[in-house]
C-alpha cells in the first residue's frame, strides 16, 4: 500500500505496531488508540515519534490532551462510503490546530483524494498502486471550491468578492 505524503510517494517511517505486539525501543511507531490510551505518558517518553490510529467512532476528546506531543494521527475509512473521518480530520486541523501528520487509512481511493486534502489530510495510505501513481493529476481535477475549509484554498465566493472590489477600484 503506497503512502503519498505531501503530494509524493514516500517511504513510511512509522512501524505499525499490531495489537499485542511488542513496542520497539526506538524509532517512529503507529499504535492503535486503545494501546495508546493504556499508558500514553510511557509511549510519549520513549525516543521516537508516536502516531495514533484513531477509529472513526471514538470521540476525539480523549485524544485532544496529547495532540501537541503526537507526530501523527491516522484516521480510518473502513469503507470509502463511511465519511466520519472527514469530520474528525477537520476538527483536528481546524478546531484543535493539530500540526502533525494527518493520515488517511483504510479504503483510500483516487476519487476521494481531493475531499481528503480539503479536509486536512496530508498523508494518504493509498489502497491501489495505480491510484497513487495518478495522485498528481487527480488532485488537479478541481480548481473551484465552494466551501471554506482549513486547507486554505480560496473559495468561489471570496474570489468573486475580490474580483468585484478590483473592478470597482479600476477607473
Amino acid at each position: 500500500m503506497p503512502l503519498v505524503k505531501n503530494g509524493k510517494i514516500a517511504t513510511d517511517i512509522y512501524a505499525h505496531v499490531a495489537d499485542g505486539a511488542e513496542i520497539p525501543a526506538d524509532g517512529a511507531i503507529l499504535v492503535q488508540a486503545a494501546r495508546f490510551l493504556d499508558d500514553p505518558e510511557a509511549l510519549l517518553r520513549r525516543p521516537g515519534k508516536v502516531g495514533v490510529v484513531w477509529p472513526n467512532n471514538r470521540d476525539l476528546d480523549e485524544l485532544v490532551p496529547y495532540l501537541d506531543r503526537l507526530a501523527a494521527v491516522a484516521l480510518v475509512f473502513p469503507s470509502f462510503r463511511d465519511g466520519r473521518a472527514y469530520s474528525q480530520a477537520r476538527l483536528l486541523r481546524e478546531r484543535y490546530r493539530f500540526q502533525g501528520e494527518l493520515r488517511a487509512t483504510g479504503q483510500v481511493l483516487r476519487d476521494q483524494f481531493v475531499f481528503m486534502l480539503r479536509a486536512g489530510f496530508d498523508a494518504l495510505d493509498v489502497k491501489k498502486e495505480k491510484d497513487a501513481d495518478a495522485f498528481a493529476e487527480t488532485v488537479k481535477r478541481y480548481t473551484v471550491f465552494y466551501q471554506p475549509t482549513g486547507d486554505g484554498r480560496t473559495t468561489a465566493l471570496s474570489r468573486r468578492t475580490q474580483l468585484r472590489h478590483s473592478e470597482s477600484a479600476s477607473p
Partner: protein, 551 residues
Amino acid sequence: MYAYDELDRTLLHERVEEFRDQVKRRLSGELTEDEFKILRLQNGVYLQLHAYMFRVAIPYGTLSTKQLRALAHVARRYDRGYGHFTTRQNIQFNWIKLAELPDALADLAEVGIHAMQTSGNNMRNVTSDQWAGVAPGEVEDPRIWSELLRQHTTLHPEFSFLPRKFKIAITASEHDRAAIKIHDIGLRLHKNADGETGFEVLVGGGLGRTPFIAKTIKPFVHGRDILSYVEAILRVYNQYGRRDNIYKARIKILVHELGIEKFGKEVEEEWQQLRDSALTLDDGAIEEVRSRFSYPAYEKLPHMPDELKQAAHDPLFERWRKNSVFPHKVQGYSIVTLSLKPVGGPPGDATAEQMDVIADLADRYSFGEIRVGHEQNLALPHVAKRDLPALWKALDKAGLATPNVNLVSDIIACPGLDYCSLANARSIPIAQELTRRFANHDTAGLIGRLHINISGCINACGHHHVGHIGILGVEKNGEEFYQITIGGRADEGAALGTLIGPSVPYGEVADVVEDIVEAYLALRYSPDELFIDTVKRLGVEPFKERVYATR
C-alpha cells in the same frame, strides 16, 4: 434567474471530465462495480429495471428556456424522447446508455445544468417554492438562499459520504409549497422583530419506512449564520447518524432517538464553535449572489385587460383560467401552472416536443423562465394577463392545458414497478386509471382540492404518507396490493395520513378511491369544506364504514 459565472461553469466542466474518467475506468474494469456505484450515484445515475436512469437537478425549480431546450435535446438524443419530472425538482431520463452519459452531462453543462448529488448519501438538490420571487406576500426571494446553499452543499469535502441522503427545502411564504416539513432540514424564511432576515430551522422530517414530520430545532437563525448552522447539524449527523442499518440511517431517526431537545443541544454546542468563522456570510457575499439573479422588467399593466374580458365568454378558457392561473405579486401578471397530468397519461412526463413548445411559449409570454414544482407540474411565472387567452390556446394544442391543477386527477406518483427496481407494485397505471375515472372536469371541480399520492413501495417517492389520499403499493403472496391512507398533507399543516382499512388488490384501487370521494361528498359540511378538512373534522371512521361496508 441565476446566471452562472465563470467559476460555476468551470466547476461543472471539471465535474464532467472527472465523471468521463470514472466511466472510462469502469468500462475498462479498473473500477469495480461496487466502487463505481457510489461515483455514478453522485452523478445521478441509477441502475433500474431495464436500463440506467439519469436524474438531473433543477435547483430550486428554476429553468431558463435554453436549459429546458437542452433537457429536450437530451430526451431526444440520448433517451426515448421524453423525461419525467419528479417530486424534488429533478427530471429523470429512463433509457440512457452508460457510455453516452458523459456526453449528455457535457451538453447539459453548456447551459449550466448538472446531475451532481441527485442521488447517493450526500446533500441532494436544494429545493424551494416554485413560485419563489413572484408569489404575493412572500417575505423575500428564497432562491438567493437556495443558491447559497446549493453552492455550499456542492462537492462538500466533509459531507459527501453521509450515513444516508440529505435533503434541504426552503420556503418564504406563509403557504408552504416546498413541503419543508418532510425534509431532513426545512427552512422557513421570516423576519425577526428588528426586520432582519433569518430562518426557522426544522429538522428530521422525512417519509419512507418510518415517516416523521420535521420538528423546529431553532425558531430564528440569522441569515448570515445559516451556513454555519446547517454545517453544525450536518457535522452532528455525520458523526452520530446510524450506519449499521440503511433503514435507520436518516437524520430523522437520530433526531427521534435522541429527542429534539438533546439533538438541538448537540447542534447548539457545535454551532457555538463554528458560528464565528469563514462560514459567516457578510452582506457583500449575500449581495454577490443576489446580484446574479435577474428579474423581468415588468410593464405597468391593467388588472383586467380587454383580452381577458373578451375571453371570459369562452367557458373552456374560463374553466382553465379559474383552475390553472394564480395571482402574481405584480399587477397585470399571473402565474400559470402547466398540468403534466393529462387524462390517461403518466403523471409528470413531458415529451421533448412539449418541452420545446413550453420553452417557446416561455420566451414569448414569461420572460424566458419556467418553474418546476414538487407536484410534478411546470409553471410559467410571469405571464401578462392580456396574453392568457393566446397562451391557453397554444398550451391546449400541445396537451398542456388540462384544467385539473390541485384537483383529484392532479396525481403525484413515483415511476413504480414499470421502471423501478425497488418497487413492489405499479404506480403509473393506477394513476392513469384514476385520471380516467375522474376525467369529467366539472365533477372534479365539484370535488375541489384533493391530492392523491401514489408510491410503488415503502420508500415513498410518491409521498403517499402526505397525500390527502395516499396509496402505497405492497406485495402480498406475489400479487400487487395497495394500502390506502387519508388525511395526510405536505404543506404548513403537514400531517401523516391514517390507514383506512385492509389493503386492496390492484383491480379495486380505483373503486375504493371513488368510494372515498363519494363518502366525502356525502359527509362534507358544505361545498366549501375541502376533503382534507372533512377528514380532520370527522376522522377516518365514517370513511372506513362507507368504503368497507360492501367489501
